[in-house]
Amino acid sequence: MKIFDYLATIDRRIIYLIIAIVVILPLVFPRPQRVRVMTPTQKLFEAVDSIPEEKVLLIDFDYDPQTAPENEPMAIALIRHAFKKRIKVAALSLYVQPLGLAVKALDQVREEFNARATTNEDSIIYGRDYVLLGWQPPPIVPLLGLGISISGVYPTDYYGYRTDSLPVMWGIRNLSNVGILVSVSGGSAPLWWVAYSQVRYGVMVAAGLTAVSASEFFIYYQTGQFSGLMVGMKGGAEYEEMVAQLDVPGRRRASEALGSLTAAHLTIIAFIIIGNIGYFVRRRRK
């Protein structure tokens, strides 16, 4: 039983090394993973898919580089879905840090579509098909103000154009013209949209969440306050797979990561089982 004594005092750096190897190997030698789409992600997809022509998909980018590996694939998959279905997109952020990531995601998907476009109608054009409204502090201003007037809260967009002069915003006055608001967030922003904007103006809200905050948010999905959820890298992969079935080009980072995610989970489960066996064996010996 010396093995359990050894495992109880093992250097944590060896654990890190094992996890690193377990994560790296499936990335270098990928094998196709089957993605089962969960109901919350399916509902979000269906809600976005059914946005009528006269309404807009409002995406709240509220993640920063720390949570980008989880949130960015979700945001990109959402934008691809909207552009493919020719749904108008308006994007904003409640904080300043995510703005650069919002620009990056929107530009990337626009270039993916425009690389395949043959006509002006096929192309994705800023101002006609989407707009980045920008950032207006403090967060309570857009949370309450968008229900009254979007161009009132954002008189100019991120690039300095007058918001109401952009064709994409024609006919889009306030939250009543929003098909669904999806908050892709590494924090609590989706709950604020529910508490302030949904309670007051009745807008449909959905969320793309980091896995660490998922258990806090599911209760709002159960009550119907969230119309759909994407949870963690797995949720991003689910949405990516559904969008890929629409023949949309582009790399699917979350789907590529599922092998590593599965392997790491199995390893940690093994660690927990071994650790518990070792604990009970050593306690019995004493």
Partner: protein
């Protein structure tokens, strides 16, 4: 293998490795990257606050557009800085009081409606809640489990009576629900942390070293 030749990719990779080096032990490379991150974040925030808020929403309207009444808001905001002058530092209470009053007034009704009323409604045993789970006939079972879980967990946090008899049974059941909740939260936390590691390794092995496509 197709190593990146982009300068900023190398900078990003170097800083990622500096941060990862903390897994071995604290060292000057980690400290350098940590301090650089804090400095850059603050610089970014200050710059965007100036260009995105202070200048277009406050100073330009006052100086060039004749909206002089915004001076009042600027003065109240500037009172935050009195914190650094001991003799008049009490004046910082004015903007804090305004902010807290406004925020509380906006938050309290919204939070009561979203976090209490709707959550209680979601726990009540109604046909609407039975069907909301969208799990066919299992919807009723899930809703009853949810109801039992909420009641028992609440009884666990009732400390005005000793946990004996009926209260003892319900609070023990509540403990099971709490443990299941902790387990789910822990599982999700593992998933989140591993996802972040994967994201960085995708960058290092893909965008930087070109080992993966």
């Amino acid at each position: 293998m197709n190593i990146s030749t982009a300068f900023w990719v190398w900078v990003s990779a170097f800083l990622s490795l500096c941060i990862f080096s903390f897994l071995y032990r604290d060292n000057p490379f980690y400290k350098f990257a940590e301090h650089l991150f804090v400095g850059v974040s603050n610089g970014y925030l200050v710059t965007l606050t100036w260009h995105g808020v202070l200048w277009p929403a406050a100073l330009r309207p006052v100086l060039f557009e004749g909206r002089w009444w915004l001076i009042l808001a600027l003065i109240v905001g500037a009172l935050y800085l009195t914190r650094f002058i001991p003799r008049i530092s009490w004046m910082v209470r004015i903007p804090i009081a305004i902010t807290m009053g406004y925020s509380s007034g906006a938050a309290i009704p919204a939070v009561i409606q979203a976090d209490i009323v709707r959550q209680v409604q979601g726990t009540i045993l109604t046909p609407d809640n039975f069907s909301r789970w969208n799990a066919g006939s299992a919807g009723i079972a899930w809703t009853i489990i949810l109801f039992i879980g909420v009641v028992c967990t609440l009884s666990y946090f009732y400390f005005s009576r000793e946990h004996k008899g009926v209260l003892g049974v319900t609070s023990r059941i509540g403990t099971i629900f709490i443990m299941v909740g902790f387990g789910a939260a822990f599982g999700y936390t593992v998933m989140a942390r591993i996802s972040l590691l994967i994201g960085r390794l995708q960058f290092l092995l893909g965008d930087w070293l070109g080992i993966i496509q």
